[in-house]
């Protein structure tokens, strides 16, 4: 077994951090690492926290962590911030609100840049969740980048998804739009002291009255003032209720997740393969399309036929 993985399973922080880096960087040893870790995963409860920039996601994660730590559970935090499409760099600032937990050995915090992903998370997020799961975290909080209306990747990775809103974030039409309003297992109206939170709650409850319930779970709408710890115990209680409800209803949608992940891995592999082949084997077809002697659809079908016949490597 990989030495780092062995130490990870014993709870070594430095090894956890190193493994995460290797996975983020898509290092050659990534496949072996994940193969060895996989049997030790699937135990943590993964909570996704998403919402617009400045809604208070980091503060909420901070206070939620404090609440969870009262039960002496080990907490992993993955905080994602955007990578610049121009420089490839990133300023990861979510830790600022969480530094109180920095020296708590029961909390492990990791910041990630999106590195080109557009769904509100980094591509490596799912596998980083696995590292923290194998590390022994009971609860893993995954904070997405500040999102708009349709960055929904978190729903595929979290067991419980929190959508964090603030009062006065638009009229009631905003609450019946498709997208992010549909993925919440729990709605959180943070900064409830700003005023207008009552109306926001009513708007969302009205929206929920008209929504078909998924297996009988109606998302609760909670109000919080994260920086004062107000509403946080109630939020943690709601997360635990949702966890219990999932267990009761076997609402894991596990098969669907596995199917999606496999399709993604295969797609990524084939994409890399085909990109290389296009330059090496099919340059003449590229040329033809560029000179408009052949349309791109016919060229693509040609390439697929030729590759499939010879058997895909």
């Amino acid at each position: 077994m990989n030495n780092l993985v062995e130490k990870l399973l014993q709870g070594d922080r430095r090894s956890a951090a190193r493994l995460i880096t290797l996975i983020e960087n898509d290092a050659p040893e990534k496949k072996d690492i994940l193969q060895q870790i996989y049997p030790y995963t699937g135990r943590a409860h993964v909570v996704g926290i998403t919402g617009s920039p400045g809604a208070g996601k980091s503060s909420l994660v901070d206070e939620l962590t404090r609440e969870i730590r009262r039960e002496v559970l080990k907490v992993g935090i993955i905080a994602v911030d955007p990578t610049s499409p121009f420089s490839g760099g990133a300023l990861l600032g979510d830790r600022i609100r969480m530094q109180e937990h920095a020296t708590d050995r029961g909390v492990f915090i990791r910041s990630m840049g999106t590195r080109g992903s557009l769904g509100g998370l980094a591509q490596a997020t799912r596998d980083v969740i696995r590292v923290l799961d194998a590390f022994g975290c009971d609860v893993i909080l995954v904070e997405t980048v500040g999102v708009g209306q349709s960055e929904l990747d978190i729903m595929h990775h979290a067991d419980t998804t929190l959508v964090v809103l603030t009062p006065q974030a638009g009229d009631h039409i905003q609450t019946i739009k498709a997208g992010i309003m549909e993925i919440a297992d729990i709605f959180v109206i943070n900064k409830a002291d700003l005023g207008g939170s009552g109306k926001m709650v009513t708007d969302i409850e009205t929206m929920l009255d008209l929504s078909p319930l998924v297996n009988g779970w109606r998302p609760p709408v909670l109000t919080t003032i994260a920086i004062d710890h107000q509403g946080i115990p109630e939020l943690w209680a709601a997360i635990k209720r949702h966890k219990a409800w999932r267990k009761e209803n076997k609402a894991g949608a596990n098969r669907e997740r596995v199917r999606r992940e496999l399709a993604e891995i295969i797609q990524r592999y084939l994409y890399q393969l085909i990109s290389r082949e296009l330059d090496e084997r099919f340059e003449h077809l590229l040329e033809k399309v560029a000179e408009r002697q052949l349309d791109p659809y016919s060229a693509a079908m040609d390439i697929i036929k030729q590759s499939w016949k010879g058997g895909l490597p």
Binding site: R13, R14, A16, A17, R18, I20, T21, E24, N25, D26, A27, P28, T83, S84, S87, G88, G89, A90, L91, L92, G93, R95, I96, Q99, A102, T103, F108, I109, R110, S111, G113, R115
Partner: protein, 132 residues
């Protein structure tokens, strides 16, 4: 393998002036690095834990309070105690020349940048001192 340089920019101790740290953070971001900024008033213990969990290549300490002779050695010592002394420690701020000499010769810090240092100098220093 897409390697990215990761840098922790930290403000240790009782020092509320973070404009410099934020300017540096921005410059490193624009040079394609991943910069973790942890905010004001950090203890050396918090900084070292963050550096380990974030698996950074470099810790950059910004100190304008005059407490550099205490804070910089403390961070370096804690990194050593945690077996993380492969992480490079650099610093910046209003640090007198004699102190720079003492800190560098004592092995407490790899490099120190004083006010007026061009941003490119810092970027290039990090790029050439972080091993692939």
């Amino acid at each position: 393998m897409a390697r990215k340089i990761r840098v922790l920019v930290a403000k240790p101790g009782l020092d509320g002036h973070d404009r410099g740290a934020r300017v540096i953070a921005r410059a490193l971001r624009d040079a394609g690095m991943e910069v973790i900024y942890t905010g004001l008033h950090q203890t050396p213990e918090q900084i070292v834990e963050a550096a380990i969990q974030e698996d950074v290549d470099v810790v950059g300490l910004s100190i304008l309070s005059g407490a550099h002779m205490t804070l910089i050695p403390r961070v370096t010592q804690l990194l050593r105690e945690n077996g993380a002394d492969d992480i490079i420690v650099i610093g910046g701020g209003t640090i007198p020349e004699d102190d720079i000499k003492a800190l560098k010769e004592g092995g407490w810090v790899k490099e120190l940048f004083t006010p007026g240092t061009p941003l490119e100098t810092i970027v290039e220093w990090i790029q050439s001192n972080v091993k692939d």
